[in-house]
């Protein structure tokens, strides 16, 4: 069966890609000066000791006196065994810090992603069905507005209006709120809204333009001649083929927004998620934590692209995966 082989090959490629990325990351780290060693030397010099002996001691302590390939093997093993080191700025293991952050990030990014991939195509197809009418113009205007306005700015404005003036949403994020509670909904509604308006524009425009092509297709005429109702025709004969080109752009768009916007939105709304964790790790020069969060984003990207490849072939039966 060609499909099983194709999936296997794609998964294998994903593993190879992630290995290449971790290798490059390792080489960059190995080539860069380690701030901890410099600090040890400075400390020794200040206390009247021998800086070079202190450097030697520190290097031994951190295993840096080992040959490069041994360190590489150690590094790779620790990456894949999820032993990602100790975060000095947070005084906890890196994986623990990442998991805690992911818990908060997931709470807004899951509803955000679900809303984007359901509402985007729906609004897009609706817009195409009413092309150049006022409904289309309203939807298009809304899409471009969300697309154009910077997320963090939009977030601040909304927070000012609904948090400060109308006081319908809290202005500070409360981490103790249970996941499924009205309180959590209220504090997450603005960040989700801001992110959805930012991401739905691109999705909606792609679906609108792709489905415009399909709604004038010969097979739509066939469907009509068969007696298919307009609603069913749009659901089955327009929406379905539109998903194919959409799936190729969706993952990339969502990932770009996820990595870029989540940081800004988390800072604005005070959510202690992955974006803010990365930001703080960079500020406090916590190398292990920076490395860890970089790897999280990398793996999300690799897995996302893998899913996109698989979804694409499942959606479009014309794609031949036998030779790939």
């Amino acid at each position: 069966m060609g499909f099983g082989k194709y999936v296997g090959a794609r998964v294998l490629w994903a593993v190879v890609v992630s290995l290449i990325i971790t290798t490059i990351t390792f080489l960059l780290l190995a080539a860069a000066p380690n701030p901890a060693i410099r600090e040890a030397a400075t400390q020794a010099a200040l206390q009247g000791g021998d800086p070079s002996a202190a450097v030697e001691r520190e290097r031994e302590l951190r295993g840096l006196n080992q040959p490069l390939y041994v360190r590489y093997m150690d590094f790779i093993r620790s990456i894949y065994t999820l032993d990602w080191g100790w975060s000095e700025s947070r005084s906890q293991p890196v994986t623990e810090a990442l998991l805690q952050a992911l818990y908060y990030t997931a709470q807004y990014s899951i509803p955000w992603t679900v809303l984007t991939i359901t509402l985007g195509p729906l609004v897009g197809v609706y817009s195409a069905a009413n092309m150049y009418s006022w409904r289309d113009h309203v939807a298009t205007g809304f899409a471009f507005f969300g697309y154009a306005i910077p997320n963090f700015f939009f977030g601040i404005i909304l927070l000012l209006i609904f948090g400060v003036w109308f006081e319908v949403v809290p202005i500070s994020y409360d981490t103790s709120a249970p996941v499924f509670s009205l309180q959590n909904v209220r504090q997450l509604i603005l960040p989700v809204f801001v992110l959805v308006t930012g991401s739905i524009g691109a999705t909606m425009r792609v679906s609108r333009n792709e489905s415009a092509e399909f709604q004038n297709s010969d097979f739509m005429k066939t469907a009509k001649a068969k007696g298919v109702s307009p609603l069913r025709a749009y659901a089955y004969h327009v929406m379905r083929p539109t998903m194919v080109p959409l799936s190729t752009t969706l993952v990339g768009q969502l990932l770009a927004l996820f990595i870029g916007s989540s940081l800004l939105v988390e800072v604005v709304f005070g959510i202690p998620g992955l974006g803010r964790l990365t930001f703080n790790a960079l500020i406090s020069q916590d190398t292990n934590l920076v490395l860890g969060s970089t790897l999280v984003f990398t793996f999300i990207a690799v897995v996302g692209n893998l899913l996109e490849d698989l979804v694409f072939t499942v959606l479009d039966p014309r794609i031949n995966y036998d030779d790939r």
Partner: protein, 348 residues
């Protein structure tokens, strides 16, 4: 033919489209009818309104911007008076369509079986197994080898001719009374064309269908038609039995059209000139600007009334009006009085 009951009677059918440049009249007051089990061909060059006329019958033209007026009586019900849901009951079940381009007429995301079953299950509440069995039976009937194993194949796995066969199978789900075939063989190569025409002929007998066949290919017309309706620029120019029209075409347009057939006329370059602007059609006969027999009476008023030129054959041409000498246009091909020498010299 005379014992047959009229199945479809179209009267004064007018289909307009609103465009940015004004109202475009694609079909302008056209009448035609199809009897039970009969094949009627609408012929004419591209842009003459043939396709729009047939798509107006079940109103599958896009409305808006399209607008269909007139009367379309099918088994003594007026389709143009019906609501959308009522029409949907008839579409694909009592009146089925097949189209010009089988490559694009099926959705590439679904198996052919799914698409045939969809056509059936929209109209009748049948189980998936029953629908599948019926679909395979129909695929078998239209000549798809190994129908049961091809049920789950996608359209791209079929050749053009096979796709058109699948489209025909899809059209047959409701045992339709009328099949509207819009240039179903134009996109196919000649050998496949002949097979599809033969298939339609066989199925017409088996299912006792009337067929409304649109084509610009007079060779195809000669093979399948019982009666012909010649359209030009949204108007009917001439109508009659296939033999009469081929033997004694009355309207100069029909004569010119037949002259384009290589076996008959061999006239080089086809008919000089182009179709009139549908946004601003000329006064009088639509064909007058391209007609070599045009006189002053041809370019004033409306399209001339249809006049019986032979029993069962009618032409919309001023030259057949009482008191006029119709010899200038009568029997225009191939060795007519008007351009006989020209034609015979082209034959050399």
């Amino acid at each position: 033919m005379s014992t047959r009951q009229p199945l479809l009677e179209v009267e004064d059918l007018t289909t307009t489209f609103s465009t940015d440049n004004g109202e475009l009249t694609a079909v302008d007051g056209v009448d035609f009818s199809v009897d039970e089990g009969e094949t009627v061909c609408i012929v004419g060059e591209s842009g003459s309104g043939k396709t729009v006329a047939t798509e107006s019958v079940t109103r599958i033209v896009k409305e808006p911007p399209g607008r269909v007026r007139g009367s379309v009586r099918f088994k003594s019900r007026d389709l143009l008076e019906m609501s959308e849901p009522e029409l949907r009951e008839i579409r694909g079940y009592e009146i089925a369509h097949i189209f010009q381009n089988p490559q694009e007429a099926m959705n590439h995301c679904y198996t052919v079986g799914w698409q045939i079953v969809e056509a059936l299950q929209i109209h009748r509440d049948v189980s998936d197994e029953e629908a599948r069995a019926k679909a395979i039976d129909l695929m078998d009937k239209v000549g798809i080898a190994n129908a049961s194993s091809r049920f789950d194949d996608y359209p791209h796995e079929f050749s053009g001719g096979q796709k058109q066969r699948v489209m025909i199978a899809m059209a047959l789900v409701g045992d339709p009374d009328l099949l509207i075939a819009d240039e179903p063989t134009t996109a196919l190569d000649v050998t496949v064309q002949a097979q599809i025409l033969r298939l339609l002929d066989d199925l017409q007998e088996e299912f006792d269908m009337g067929i409304l066949f649109v084509t610009h290919d007079l060779g195809v017309v000669a093979e399948i038609a019982d009666r012909i309706v010649v359209m030009y620029a949204g108007k009917v120019m001439e109508r009659g039995d296939v033999l009469d029209i081929f033997e004694r075409p009355a309207h100069p347009y029909t004569q010119q059209l037949l002259n384009c057939l290589p076996e008959i006329g061999g006239k080089k370059g086809g008919i000089p000139g182009t179709l009139p602007d549908p946004l601003d059609p000329p006064d009088g006969c639509r064909f007058a600007p391209r007609c070599e027999h045009a006189v002053d009476a041809c370019v004033t008023g409306d399209q001339p009334e249809e006049i019986e030129v032979n029993p069962g054959q009618r032409a919309s041409c001023v030259h057949y009006r009482p008191g006029r000498d119709d010899s200038v246009v009568r029997d225009g091909i191939p060795d007519s009085t008007a351009d006989g020498e020209e034609v015979s010299s082209a034959d050399d």
